[in-house]
């Protein structure tokens, strides 16, 4: 197991270097210099001041040297300072918002697993029955659904017409004065719609995958054996088949991480949730390049870590992976 982990970590190093190169390349797509934005608004900025600003961001040096300086800072999580008036370090701005985004994504992931797996299993066990057909309709609609639109409709229905759920932020204005239990309930009410919606996108994919997987497992010889020795259908399906069909789900969950993180931009913006996605959106609008590049990098690293965790858990669960 340790050697597998070592190999996997070693494989991550070139990926990480690749990620930094792409981030760096994106940053230098900009026509002109990223600091122009700060100086062009200010007619009093002299040529000398512009040069100083360029030097501050190392933009006066040759590209390979700029890359090297940038990576050296990156290694100690120094992502530079924001262009916004507060001039705060980018890493501080991201780190204070990261927990909300990760919490939301983990909750969505749990919800996806809790809903999609039973749906997929039931659809496979009752192949071509009404439930299976209803599932496939749901899957097709799920794949085609613009989730930001669904968010709007649910906001209109639950937030405005019925008035059941809040549609903005993660806590009410008076949450500070609530008792802990009430404050917690307030938080839950704020999170219901965003978590539900961000899970929605992954539901279709995973339930379809789970169904296909289960159908394949049911055809295997060992299931025939289990049935032949007279085990109940229940034991065959839920003990013998399900376990084997569940394994590859780990990988699929790992692969769904970039989608979830990407989606957080949309949901955090719609629901005004102060997470990394909202910060990303605001920074894109304000052309705050250091923050944009910082989040781009962190997003890719989170994906890489998610895939690592998925691969390692798969290897823990299935010894065959470790050997090959």
């Amino acid at each position: 197991m340790l050697s597998y982990l070592g190999k996997r970590l070693l494989f991550m190093a070139p990926m990480l270097i690749g990620i930094t190169i792409i981030c760096f390349a994106v940053m230098h797509l900009a026509p002109g210099s990223p600091t122009d934005l700060q100086t062009q608004m200010n007619p009093r900025a002299s040529a000398e001041a512009k040069e100083r600003l360029r030097a501050l961001y190392d933009l006066d040096k040759p590209l390979p040297q700029q890359y090297w300086l940038w990576v050296k800072k990156l290694a100690v999580l120094d992502l530079g300072r924001s262009f916004s008036p507060d001039r705060r370090p980018v890493s501080d701005k991201i780190l204070e918002r990261l927990p909300i985004t990760i919490t939301l994504n983990v909750l969505s992931l749990l919800l996806i697993v809790a809903i999609a797996i039973p749906i997929g299993v039931l659809a496979a066990v009752h192949q071509d029955a009404w439930f299976d057909r209803a599932t496939s309709v749901f899957v097709f609609i799920g794949f085609a659904m613009p989730t930001f639109w669904l968010a709007l409709l649910l906001m209109i229905l639950f937030g405005i017409h019925l008035g059941w759920l809040p549609i903005s932020g993660i806590r009410s204005l008076n949450a500070e004065y609530m008792r802990p239990a009430a404050a917690f309930w307030d938080l839950v009410r704020h999170l219901i719609l965003p978590v539900l919606l961000s899970a929605f996108g992954g539901l279709a994919g995973l339930s379809r995958y789970m169904r296909a997987n289960m159908l394949e497992v049911i055809r295997q010889d060992y299931i025939m054996t289990a049935r032949a020795k007279g085990l109940s259908e229940r034991t065959v399906i839920y003990r013998h088949a399900l376990r084997n069909a569940l394994l590859p789900v780990i990988t699929i969950l790992g692969l769904s991480i970039p989608g979830l993180i990407g989606g957080s931009v949309i949901f955090e913006t719609i629901f005004a949730i102060p997470g990394m996605g909202q910060l990303f959106y605001m920074s894109v609008m304000a052309r705050d390049y250091p923050v944009v590049m910082g989040i781009l990098f962190i997003g890719a690293v989170l994906t890489l870590l998610g895939n690592l965790i998925a691969d390692v858990s798969y290897a823990l669960a299935d010894p065959r992976i470790r050997v090959s």
Binding site: G18, A144, F148, G259, F280, V284, L304
Partner: protein, 276 residues
């Protein structure tokens, strides 16, 4: 073979329904100037935020513009973005996948690691980061969606090339002295187009979804150019008073994407029944 394909395709009701939706959208886009009851950018401040009625079937927006007319013109934008973005993705994906699969070895390793690295980035993050740098115009949107969406096609074309390059017709082409370029593009690539066609159809759906999400966030197609996504932005701004602005454009996106997805799946089943 060909008639087999059509028989299987036409027997699939879902696929036929998908094709009807896609065809209808082509017609609407093509005849937008004649189909739209009003000028999509005609501002009428006396008719601001009117609910659906006999005059304005789908109501009006905050500037008094007819929503139905804007949606009909918006269909053009979706179609354009969907096809151009997917075209760019296919171009990049097919060339890289062909080169990787045909040459193998180091070339293959480098290209495929590049694919792996690109897939590490949440697609939406990469798109947004590039938009922060370039101006959000319709052409940049198409370019960005295409340039960040070619990785799946590369993997697909590469896999096809790896199996196809061992076939006798490739050997025959080599024997008569065809160049590598000719073998790749004239002999092998056409045989790999079936799976590309399926992925491309699904890709158009994905590009339309992405464009509408970007336009909804205000960083895609910029007003006054109408797009389904930016009508929804007005819907969100008037969420408590004008439900029609939120309902109809989203429905159009849903039906369109559903149409392309059904068409794509139908093509896949008809091209290769074993994949079902």
């Amino acid at each position: 073979m060909r008639s087999d394909f059509w028989r299987r395709f036409l027997e699939n009701r879902m696929a036929v329904a998908g094709s009807v939706v896609v065809l209808a959208l082509f017609v609407v886009s093509l005849f937008a100037p004649w189909l739209a009851p009003y000028d999509p950018s005609a501002i009428d401040l006396e008719k601001v935020l009117m609910p659906p009625s006999g005059d304005h079937w789908l109501g009006t927006d905050p500037l008094g513009r007819d929503v139905l007319s804007r949606m009909i013109w918006g269909a053009r934008i979706s179609l354009k973005v969907g096809f151009v973005a997917t075209g760019i993705a296919i171009l990049i994906g097919a060339v890289l996948g062909a080169v990787a699969g045909y040459y193998g070895g180091w070339t293959d390793a480098v290209i495929m690691r590049f694919v792996d690295i690109m897939l590490c980035f949440p697609a939406f993050f990469l798109i947004l980061a590039v938009i922060a740098i370039l101006e959000p115009s319709i052409w940049n949107i198409m370019l960005i969606i295409g340039v960040t969406g070619w990785m799946g096609i590369t993997r697909l074309v590469r896999a096809d090339f790896i199996s196809l390059k061992e076939r006798d017709f490739v050997l025959a082409a080599r024997v008569i002295g065809a160049s590598d370029l000719r073998i790749i593009f004239v002999h092998i690539l056409p045989n790999a187009m079936a799976s590309v066609l399926v992925t491309a159809t699904l890709g158009v759906a994905g590009a339309i979804l992405t464009e509408s999400a970007l336009s909804f966030l205000g960083i895609g197609v910029q007003p006054p150019t109408p797009s389904w996504g930016n009508i929804l932005t007005a819907g969100k701004d008037n969420i408590d008073i004008a439900w029609w602005l939120s309902l109809y454009p989203g429905l159009a996106i849903l039906v369109t994407v559903l149409g392309y997805n059904l068409l794509g799946e139908g093509l896949r089943d008809a091209l290769d029944p074993r994949l079902r």
